[in-house]
Amino acid sequence: MVLTGAEIVIRCLQEEKVDYVFGYPGGAVLFIYDALFQQEKVRHVLVRHEQAAIHAADAYARSTESVGVALVTSGPGATNAVTGIATAYCDSIPMVIISGQVPTAAIGQDAFQEVDTVGITRPCVKHNFLVKDVADIASTIKKAFHLAKTGRPGPVLVDIPKDVSAQRAEYHYPKSVEMRSYNPVVKGHQGQIKKALKLLLEAKRPMIYTGGGVILSDAAKPLTKLVRKLGMPITNTLMGLGGYPATDKQYLGMPGMHGTYEANMSMHFSDVLLAIGARFDDRVIGDPNHFAAEPRKIIHIDIDPSSISKRVKVDVPIVGDVKDVLEELIRLLDENTQKQDTDALATWWKQIDEWRSRDCMKYKNSDEIIKPQYVIEKLWEVTGGEAFITSDVGQHQMWAAQYYKFDKPRRWLNSGGLGTMGVGMPYAMGAQLAHPDAQVACVTGEASIQMNIQELSTCKQFRLPIKICNLNNRYLGMVRQWQELFHGGRYAESYMDSLPDFAKLAESYGHIGIRVDRPGDVEGALREAFSRKKDLVFLDFQIDQTENVYPMVQGGKGLTEMILSAEDL
């Protein structure tokens, strides 16, 4: 069958069972939009800014097991997309981005809306392609999807010049992909897995630390099974929340810069640390030298060999798909005859419970002024812990991560690696489209939300009943917190002046806006919002301006050097 390049693109998306493409049209992609218009299988979501298209497609992928797809035009379309692509790259999210390019003959001529998209995106994609021959479109898109979702996932960009999308070629979608240069290891090495199990069973102070890799590999079930069998303490990183049920007693809370006292102390003083799909990020272990100073054996399971021994030296590396390796560990554990050191484990739990009794997450609530932690606690109650929660970046992100107890994977969507302000609302859009009947809330702040506020319009057009919980403290809260603690209280440009009336702003887009000033009204407002199943509700909580996120490990400090509360200062 002979089709145009544009038709081939759409046929490929159909073959990949793509439900939604998030995008924004422009000159270089007109043929592709024309082909999109003439079919009904792949639906298009018109955003108001390309950055939001990438974020929404990214969230679609994060909240499901599928690949997110976005479509943007050349030049500014592509450059607007870059922040979104980098965000997905840093969190290893499977995505395919199709960008239009100026016609082949115009490439390099400084044509209108021309940029070197492949060059600009190279450092923030897993891979990218410039398709110069219409006959290569189908095989390239097949490769793009294959690369995006296998191995360590990531965004893949396919740049298609306008003339290529207009030319015709015989259409054939390959069934499989063979790439001699790309063969990610899936199965873990048997000998290494056995070694790991032996170490774990001998451990006196074991600790399990898991990250986004558990979510990406859909390994929450085998992880939970293994951790329960072993009876060991576990912590989930910011990217790994929901990998293990947060309400379970073996769960110690999140580790790291704003992690719990018990999680950080257990990480640091463990004698065997099992890291799964995590990467010893600077926000998780603090100063790597301080961390390495305490002797312990580290087992590290990861699909990406370059993640292993990158920041800390690993004793037992296991390269492989997390789910695969965990299932193998469970199988070996069931066959195992070696006795676990349960006495030592009981002593270790006693120590952990002592750390736990510090109750590091307590905060002083108030009848006068809304505390952000209280809003998140109520959000958790009102949604029964079942909602998809997206966040932007800053204090509100940390409070959401700390106080919303995620029991399931893929329910927590945030920009963990790049820390991109403005992801919150587009993430909620993508999650809501993927799960039309689910409760979706965006926890944000008055600064972050303004970075993609235009998407209120998209939400109206596509009737997305997301609930926006704006923790409004009239400050770039996290910046203000660092300035208060480390810059002598000189609040350089961290205030947010001349704010809009968010409730009215939401109303002007045709949504419902509610301003909440008093703690007593928080729960009622949340219940009201979630009872409106068809409406987007913008809750503008006026919160305590001086509240800080604790516990805190200052950047560059050791993991155990925690400030637990304002009283510690």
């Binding site: 492949v118 060059g119 190279r122 450092p123 897993k126 891979h127 410039l130 690369l147 790439m179 001699r180 240069s181 790309y182 990406d304 060999p305 370059s306 021994s309 990158k310």
Partner: protein, 163 residues
Amino acid sequence: MRHVIALLIENESGALSRVSGLFSARGYNIESLTVAPTEDASLSRMTIVTTGSDDIIEQITKQLNKLVDVVKVVDISESAHIERELMLIKVRATGKDREEMKRMADIFRGRIIDATDSSYVIELTGNQTKLDSFIGAIDTTLILETVRSGIVGIGRGDRILKL
């Protein structure tokens, strides 16, 4: 430590910038980098000379392997190997310097591949040290122009880097 990394990469446009971009983005050193297609035109072979601690070299090879276009990576300096570099050097060759320059070229087993009445172009191959020694041995004020190819390297004996 100095390491010589050899790799096979799909011979596609942009392949070189993926490798050089990786080095600059992650702050790794490149002392020299050479690239050309192999007997199989779909594959290019690169030789990269770099320096770094063992940990850094381990990361470099892992990160190179992670590039989708890279087919194989070997640190050939880990075992017996041969390194060669080509240098073309244009020198002033007049009066008594003319005979002296010819003599030096002979000693280093170089060849004069272009001669005018006032200059020679000498072709010299060898490892880095040999080329450095040649430059050190002649009167540097006579050097008009130097071009060096960067190192190419290959493992000795049975050590073969092929698909």
